[in-house]
Symmetry: C2
């Protein structure tokens, strides 16, 4: 461990133990250098590392301050407030507009700040492609049978091994391989609820969750959600007392669009509530590998003793989105989910499964992920600081603890969809806030993607969007 | 054209013009050789070719007879009768048993007479695998966007071109690429009907159609179906008069399990009926390329002027099942189907689409298909003659005009599921008849797959099944 990493760890310990509290100002770089007898560069690096982990924040001209997600700082002007959505259960019909937005994002050669997908340039696709090719050559008789549900045994084993190594006991027999997390979420939802049922979601919520609800002709109800702590469990319980809620869909780690990491205690509470209410929870964990801090986040699944959590994930955000390989750990609904997978798409193609299994077995997935996380953490910092500098006064942003998207609240009255159209005319896409709600609770929000390696082009694009937003206010 | 092919064509003309009628005995090989002044081998080859096309049939010790599918020969003991299923609309729950049967078929190293999948040894997979690899190398930034619905433009263009070349005018903009025909059928059904609705199907019906109905919580009703002419349109109309039928799902060409090719006139009639009744038809065309006779079969879609036919197909039976690439031509439901594709699995992976497009553009798909058709036609003949020789008296078989499965009716009282289990103990799988009906209308039927290149092992397996069946009757 390098000296600056050691220093960062000491400070992190002090923060975690409560010696430093939220809002406390850290020693200046010079002071710390003198007191600890290390170079200024070392201190600076340690502070940057802590900042990239989301534990401290710099304020221009003022130095570094401890930043604890979820601490009571809602009063500060630059902090987002918890959401208070209109809590009416409604049928969902948002996908057509989202599809057309996504298509406009991909159609032209725009700067993809609106893209929901990770930039693939950091993914080891050449290696995977070679493994898939070799797997295809090896098989004399390649047919469907190799991948009948639950999935290819090599990949199932590797996924189970990975969970086990990270401390989560998983029965390989529970895993069902799917066509991306999209299919996993769809069939898990279909296993626990019926058309017409109401599903509780975070607010804002990742639109893919809304699409799953729409696909089945179910209804959604948005629950108040804290930008750092996640879904409000008391609010969920209140609503469930007044109307039947068939299931709850959440993204406790690095939620899209807010990027929060729900604290362990809250995760435990949510699972305890679900257990007591006998309410299945669909947990979308596609960003779990993209944490900025050292330790991997826990899952709701790891607190579940009753098989009520249906955990869904994929390799699309962490390894490759080209193969569309995801999986479900459906708890007590396992057999039903396996059957629905079979009915929905029969099998998931075998070669991509074999290629990923080979990569996991041989190639240091962890090394790849460390590079990816470091890059995203750094890009998060750059994106936030650019927005802070170039967006209109009154703009607030999320504090992502992982993933690759930033949720931006523009001053009230500014229309995110209008801004989207203005930006598109300049060859830039952004993610308009309407996509994240069934009742347009976020008209003045946008989502920005920072998965692309930083470049002058991206910097110019963010500045342009900020200026367009400022123009709208005039 | 070789001499024997020319002779076969002349005889086929005479049959089609009605000079030779169903049941007529052809000249003996010797007579024909003398009269036409060609060698005995030439006549024999011509007769074998006609037999493989399903136009004539040999009877031991008696010579060759004209065999016209659909001619009034139901009275003959070795002909299958049209089905008369119990016409009660029922909810569907057959998939779990089918999945476990399919898994037992794939789990062990059994002789796969029960497999629903084509043997991949005749497929040009090495070439496709190479194209996929090269496509993966070429793309600097490989991500999801390339394949957002409707699908990869290169593949869409190739599919449209192929239809056009075969005389069916297709708007490329109508095509939606899917994860196999399974997804195409699922989302087409979801586009035209709702949970609780009743769907009319052939009887027996391909179980994948029943699974699509089960997946959506719909009901099915089985319609009387002729083993050579297809679904009974009058029976369908009768039932639709007494209860609402939301849609009809059929496989007019080389139906699984019966293998018939619905005559053009009947196809036209079915579409006319659907138009008049405003009833959407989902047409499963996955075997369309596997015709034994020279001309490709027509589709229901080609007779449809109102956009009521949702045509589904895939490359899984004709090129490779490893990639799971299918498509839909959903007529007037196109936008709804595109949206459902997006909701169901987001995108279909791009590389397999690009590999298949490359193959279609460069490699003589038609040459490959000619080889495949000739092999299946020959294997059909061998399978039928083996069953005729080694199965108990009273056994009847279908007369497949394409595809690679034979439908076998065992003497009444013989239990296909019991036979399945006995065969499994000997390392042989067969497809039990229960899979093809919602109310077990075919307990004494089995389906045999003849897609594997003929071998002594397969021959022994068929003979063994025949003997086991005979033992059951004792």
């Amino acid at each position: 461990m390098k000296l600056y990493e050691k220093l960062a760890e000491e400070i992190e310990d002090l923060i975690r133990k409560g010696v430093y509290r939220h809002g406390d100002r850290l020693q200046s770089v010079r002071q710390a250098s003198q007191q600890r007898k290390v170079s200024i560069t070392t201190v600076l690096r340690a502070y940057l590392l802590l900042e990239s982990r989301g534990l401290i924040a710099s304020r221009p001209q003022s130095g570094y301050f401890v930043h604890l997600p979820g601490a009571a700082d809602g009063a500060r002007a630059d902090r987002m407030a918890p959401s208070h959505p209109i809590a009416i259960s409604s049928s969902v019909d948002v996908s057509r507009l989202v599809l057309s937005t996504l298509r406009s994002i991909s159609d032209n050669h725009a700067v993809p700040l609106g893209s929901p997908y990770p930039d693939p340039s950091l993914f080891p696709f050449d290696k995977l492609n070679r493994y898939a090719y070799v797997a295809g050559r090896r098989k004399e008789r390649l047919d469907l049978k190799d991948a009948l549900p639950p999935g290819h045994p090599d990949l199932v084993r590797q996924i189970a091994r990975r969970y086990l190594e990270k401390g989560m006991a998983v029965d390989p027999g529970e895993i069902i391989i799917t066509v991306g997390a999209t299919e996993a979420i769809n069939i898990c939802l279909q296993a626990v609820a019926r058309p017409g049922d109401t599903i509780a979601v975070e607010s804002p919520t990742f639109y893919a969750m809304l699409h799953a609800i729409e696909r089945m002709g179910m209804k959604a109800i948005e629950i108040s959600t804290h930008p750092d702590l996640g879904i409000d469990i008391a609010a969920l319980a209140d609503i469930a007392r007044t109307q039947p809620i068939a299931a709850c869909m959440v993204m406790p780690n690095f939620q899209n669009p807010m990027g929060f990491r729900m604290p362990d205690e809250r995760k435990r509470e949510l699972v305890a509530y679900a257990t007591q209410a006998d309410m299945p929870i669909i947990e979308n964990g596609v960003y779990n590998e993209l944490h900025y801090s050292r330790e991997a986040p826990s899952t709701l699944k790891s607190y579940d003793t009753r098989g009520l959590v249906l955990h869904c994930s994929s390799f699309s955000k962490s390894l490759t989105s080209a193969y569309r390989i995801g999986w479900a750990l459906p708890g007590r609904y396992r057999d039903q989910v396996e059957k629905l997978k079979f009915l929905n798409t029969l099998t998931t193609p075998a070669l991509p499964q074999m290629a990923i299994a080979e990569f996991l077995a041989r190639d240091g997935y962890d090394r790849h992920l460390r590079r990816l996380r470091a890059a995203y953490a750094q890009q998060a910092r750059l994106m936030r600081s650019l927005v802070a500098r170039f967006f209109p006064a009154g703009t607030r942003t999320s504090h992502p603890a992982g993933g690759y998207v930033l949720w931006v609240e523009l001053p009230a009255g500014l229309d995110g969809m209008h801004l989207y159209q203005l930006a598109l005319q300049r060859g830039i896409t952004i993610g308009p806030g309407y996509m994240f709600s069934i009742s347009n609770n976020y008209p003045n929000f946008i989502r920005l993607n920072y998965s692309s390696p930083w470049s002058a082009e991206i910097e110019r694009a963010v500045i342009t969007v900020g200026r367009l937003a400022a123009d709208c206010l005039r």
